[in-house]
Point group: C2
Chain length 354, copies 2
């Protein structure tokens, strides 16, 4: 049975402003210095699926930019466009039914496009274990990240201890407070929820039918449009009608028999500016300074220039990001509050800065 | 005897980078939000001298910019150009000999152009007291700023206590360390040296002849060029030959009979970014935010945007200055270190940023 790669690249996200914008979200940026994030995700999946079997789901606003930068080995008709943001269940469902109806059942390896993974081959091995599990058991499998700290930024997965590499999921838990996070990490049988899934297209669609009938009904309508001359327009019109829901809430938390493969592969979701520094080797002062930057007496800071000189004196634990039309100066510990700036701009109708 | 105003506007200065540049030093900036600093200096002097009796000394690099913004009531031939930076003694000497030879002896009121004065009329009254003293006694008079704190940034003047408004200077002292500064302030008979002088042109020229004969000889050469067709070129060639020295070292510290008028008029030399905030009313968070700025959880900071959005989150006591080609992010307490950035740019030959 064939393995298909599916990259979810339709997300918006505001915590990476001002670098990320509506039309250029994080996944369409080159943050590591090597390649655009979405292409790095494609490269990783190419180790378990061929390029012609990899799909990328994007969103209407970002499609043009994506097509400019996407790895040219991805077939244009394998770029699926969401005409509205509807969270992960519709996104995955769309890919599943596209695969099922147009190409035939197969094992889907679904990943986000905006996380950084340092050890690609270790990751590929973890995926291979998950793929084999799906092939052998037809279960829903997810990848869990072995925690490196009691992070409060991720959902966690509790699993049943066993000697096996692939564990049974006991339950999914919400992003915890620090106290709980420490407890989870101490337990030893908790992993971070990575948003990476491996399952058969037919199996997941069955689950949608059972647990998300409204979504499933919409997916069937999408499928009815396949092969029509105006397939694109029809899908564009149907898509916003799909209920918005995450696959975690909609499916994972309702199913009994989910498996998780814990792994360590230098994963960083680069969720906000305070974690960006992990993608680069800091200098002797703990600074990550990229581009046209001069510093004095500055430590543990992340400083990005997109072109103009950025000079930083006498600070620590600061994020400074310069873009052509906006500058951010933010204490690392307040990185989550970048959202407040974005909300303020939205409220003021300053779309050109978003 | 006529009163002439003389504004020393030829200075460079690097502590105000990136706002000030070689061609646009502090005095040619509008920092208060009202008018360019040099024009604010002109306005103050216009309270004791007529516009047609006010001279502005500039430097060759800045002349064009000055002429674009200078108060149009200043006569173009009253703008004197230094073809090289030679500190205050040559600058003042040039103005003195220009006045003496071309217009006739008079009382010179000499001020820098890059200090902020909040209470212009109080200042004018102090000047009037100084002018009267010169008229009556023909002494050299300087204005002293009543200290508002034990600043280590200024030279101090010790004076003889008396009931008179005009005091006898006992001695000039260098910029002190904090311990000394506190001692001076506690004594009660010390003022900051403001760099503001009042004296007759003939008197000061006599002092130059006595104490700075080399400078005086050059001034005589400048005067020889007056009225020639190529007066400007001749002066341009002579000027760099004048020994560079401050009027404080060259004259003031050598003379016996100097008077000082202490005053309080909301003076701020705006010497570096940490003092800039004093020119504006801070908001409830102690921030001075000018232009296109958004802040959250930020206090006691100075944030200037020249155009692009500057968003600041979670910091305090910070200076953030955005200009079209350079951004500065600097802890207020390290404001003096802006010079290090300027030196680094010079060293790298990055003239366009200076």
């Amino acid at each position: 049975m064939k393995t298909y790669g599916v990259i979810m690249a339709g997300g918006g996200g505001t915590r990476f402003w001002p670098l990320s914008r509506k039309e250029t979200p994080k996944q369409l940026l080159n943050l590591s210095g090597n390649n655009f994030m979405v292409n790095e995700a494609i490269e990783r999946l190419s180790r378990v699926a061929t390029y012609k079997d990899i799909f990328v789901v994007t969103n209407a606003l970002q499609k043009n930019k994506l097509m400019q930068i996407i790895d040219k080995r991805i077939k244009p008709d394998h770029v699926l466009v969401e005409s509205a943001a509807r969270n992960t269940a519709p996104c995955i469902g769309y890919a599943a039914i596209e695969i099922m109806k147009k190409y035939g059942d197969g094992i889907m390896v679904i990943t986000p496009s905006d996380a950084y993974i340092r050890d690609s081959e270790t990751f590929a091995n973890i995926l291979r274990v998950a793929i084999k599990t799906v092939r052998d058991t037809d279960k829903l499998v997810t990848i869990g990240i072995t925690p490196t700290c009691p992070s409060t930024a991720y959902g966690y997965i509790k699993y049943e201890e066993s000697a096996e590499e692939v564990k049974k999921v006991l339950r999914f838990v919400e992003k915890p407070n620090l106290k709980l996070a420490k407890k989870y990490c101490k337990s030893g049988n908790f992993v971070w929820n990575s948003g990476i899934f491996v399952w058969k297209a037919s199996t997941i669609l069955q689950k949608y039918k059972e647990f998300l009938p409204d979504v499933y009904a919409c997916l069937e309508q999408l499928a009815d449009a396949f092969g029509h001359d105006d397939e694109k327009e029809i899908i564009e019109n149907i898509y916003p009608l799909i209920p918005s829901i995450s696959v975690d809430y909609g499916i994972m938390e309702k199913c009994d028999d989910i498996m998780v493969v814990p792994g360590e592969f230098g994963w960083n979701d680069v969720g906000s500016w305070d974690t960006f520094g992990a993608l680069h080797e800091p200098d002797d002062n703990g600074n990550v300074a990229l581009g046209n930057v001069i510093t004095f007496d500055t430590a543990n800071s992340t400083i990005l220039s997109s072109g103009r000189l950025v000079s930083v004196i006498g600070v620590k634990d600061l994020v400074v990001v310069e873009t052509p039309d906006a500058i951010l100066v933010c204490a690392k510990e307040k990185a989550q509050d970048v959202k407040k700036v974005v909300d303020a701009l939205k409220k003021e109708g300053r779309e050109e800065l978003l």
